[in-house]
Amino acid sequence: MNKPQGEVFDIGYQPYEGAREGRNAARKALLIDGMRTALGMGRGLTAKILPGLLFLALLIPALVFIIIASVVGQTGIDDLPGVADYYQGAIYPVLIFSAIIAPELLTTDRRNGVLSLYLVRPITSSDYIIGRWLAFFLLSLIVVWVPQLLLYIGVNLGSTDAWEYLRDNWDDIPRFLLAGAALALFTTTLPLAAAAFTDRRAIAAALVIGIWVIALAVGNALSDGIGGTAGAWLALIDIGSTPLHINDMIFNQASDGPGRAAEEVPKAVRIGWYLILVAVPAAFLYMKYRKVSA
C-alpha cells in the first residue's frame, strides 16, 4: 500500500520571467483604459448613466428616421434628412457628449494622482497623452459613424429597389465617413485641451459648452446684424459649426444648416480656419503634457 502522498506547493512570491512588451503595449493599455473610462465601464452604475444617456441621444434620431422611412416608403424619403444634412443636427449632442465626457480622461488622473504612477512607468508623457487622445477619438468616430450607418442602411432597406439605390448613392458612404471623421477630430481635441487647462471636469465641460454657446450667439448676432460679405466672415466666429463647413464642402451642396451664413467665405479660408481650430488645442494639449512632472 503506497504511502499517502502529500505535497506543499510554493505559492510564495515568484520572480517574473515572462515577456516584457515595450511602449506599444503601454499605449494600447492606455487606449483601452481610456475608452473604458469614457464609457464608465468597470465603474459601477452611476458612471455609466451620463455616457449611456448621451449615446442614446445620438442613436434615437437615426432609429426614428429609419422607422419613418420604412413606414412612409419611397415618397417620404426625400424630406428625411439625407446623409449630407445629418450632421447639421447631430453636431449639438456630439459636442455636448464630448464636452462632458472627454475631460474625464485627463482630469481624474491628475486629481487623484494616478498620472504620477504612469510617469514612472517605461513610457513618456507624450505616450500617455497620445494614448488618451486616440481613445476618445476612436470613441467619437463610433458615436458619429454608427448612427449614420444605421440611417444609411435603414433608408436603403426602406427604398423599393435596394440595389439600385446603392448603385446610385454608393459614393455617399466615403463622404459621410470623411465628414464624420472631421467632426470627431474637432470634438475630441477641443474638450481635451480644456481638460488640460483646469483640474475640475465640471469647469472644463462648462468652459467648452460656454465657448461654443457664446461663439454661436455672438457669431449669429453679428452676421445677422451686419449681413453681406462682412457678415459672412463674422459668422466664422461661431466656431461650433466649423466642422459643418467641411461637411458642406465634402457634399458640395449649399448648406441650409448653421454653416449657411459663412457660405460666401472662400473654401480655402474655411478649411484653414477648421485646421487652426484643431491644431491649436492639439498643440496646447501636447505641450502641457510634455513637461508635466510626477
Binding site: I203, I214, L222
Partner: protein
C-alpha cells in the same frame, strides 16, 4: 459732527484694513477667473460697437436681445456666479474656512467683507459695460444709461447674496447656480408668468424698464412694477445674507 465723522472714518479704516476683506480680494482676483469675467463683460460692448460702427445705428428690436436676453439673462448671472459661489466655496474646498471660524470674530463680520468683495469686484465691471452699451446704442441718452446702471447694480447685489449662500451650502454651487439661472429664470419664466415675481432677472429688467421705457420699451413683456421689483430684490438680498450668516453659525466646518 466731528464724532460721527471720526467714527465713520475709523469704521471705514477698520473696514479697509479688515483681514477677511484682504484675503477675499486676494482669493477672488485669481488671473484666470478675472480674465474670464472681464471677457464676458466686454462681449456686449464689442457687439454693440461693431453693429453701430457698421450700420450707423441699432436695429429697432435691440434692447430685448442685448439687455433682456444676453446681458441680464446670461452674462450678469454667470459673472456674479463665478465669484459669489467662490466667496465661501473656495474656503470650503481648500479647507481654509476653519482659519476664519476659529477666530474671535462674529459670523456677521466674516460674511460682510466676503459679500462686499464679491459685489465690488463684479458690480462696477458690469455696470460700466451696461452703461457703455446703452450710450453707444442710444446715442448717449443719459436716462437709459442710468436705468441700465441701476438695474444691473440691483441684479449684482441680489445675485451675489443668493450665490454666496449657495457656495456655503454645497460644494456643487456652480452647478445649482447654472440650473437656477437657465432653467428657473430662463425656461420656466417663459411659460409660467407667475415666476416673474420670484426671479432676479425679472427684478433687474423691471427696474430698467421702470426708469426708462422709451428706448427700453421692448423690456415690458417680462416686467413688473418698479416698486414691487425693488422691494422684492431687497427682501431676497437680505434674506439670503441672513441665511448665510445663520448657516456659518450652525454648520460643521470641515
Amino acid at each position: 459732527m466731528m464724532g460721527r465723522n471720526m467714527m465713520g472714518k475709523s469704521m471705514m479704516a477698520g473696514f479697509i484694513k479688515d483681514p477677511v476683506l484682504h484675503i477675499s480680494l486676494k482669493q477672488l482676483s485669481g488671473p484666470r477667473r478675472m480674465t474670464i469675467v472681464t471677457l464676458l463683460a466686454i462681449i456686449p460692448v464689442v457687439i454693440t460697437s461693431v453693429i453701430v460702427g457698421v450700420n450707423g445705428g441699432v436695429p429697432d428690436e435691440f434692447a430685448a436681445p442685448i439687455f433682456g436676453r444676453m446681458f441680464v439673462a446670461a452674462i450678469l448671472p454667470i459673472v456674479v456666479m463665478a465669484l459669489a459661489t467662490a466667496a465661501f466655496g473656495n474656503e470650503l474646498e481648500d479647507k481654509t474656512l476653519s482659519y476664519l471660524v476659529l477666530k474671535p470674530v462674529s459670523r456677521l463680520r466674516l460674511v460682510l467683507p466676503k459679500y462686499a468683495v464679491t459685489v465690488l469686484m463684479t458690480g462696477p465691471l458690469l455696470v460700466v459695460s451696461g452703461v457703455v452699451v446703452a450710450l453707444v446704442a442710444y446715442d448717449a441718452d443719459a436716462r437709459t444709461a442710468t436705468a441700465v446702471a441701476v438695474g444691473i447694480a440691483v441684479g449684482v447685489v441680489t445675485y451675489s447674496s443668493i450665490f454666496m449662500w449657495m457656495g456655503l451650502v454645497t460644494t456643487k454651487a456652480l452647478g445649482f447656480a447654472l440650473f437656477y439661472v437657465f432653467l428657473w429664470e430662463g425656461l420656466l419664466s417663459e411659460f409660467l408668468s407667475g415666476i416673474r415675481f420670484l426671479s432676479v432677472r425679472a427684478y433687474t429688467v423691471s427696474i430698467m424698464h421702470g426708469i426708462e421705457d422709451i428706448n427700453l420699451a421692448e423690456l415690458d413683456e417680462l416686467s413688473i412694477r418698479l416698486p414691487v421689483a425693488a422691494v422684492g430684490a431687497g427682501i431676497v438680498t437680505v434674506l439670503f445674507f441672513y441665511l448665510t450668516v445663520r448657516r456659518l453659525r450652525r454648520m460643521d466646518v470641515p
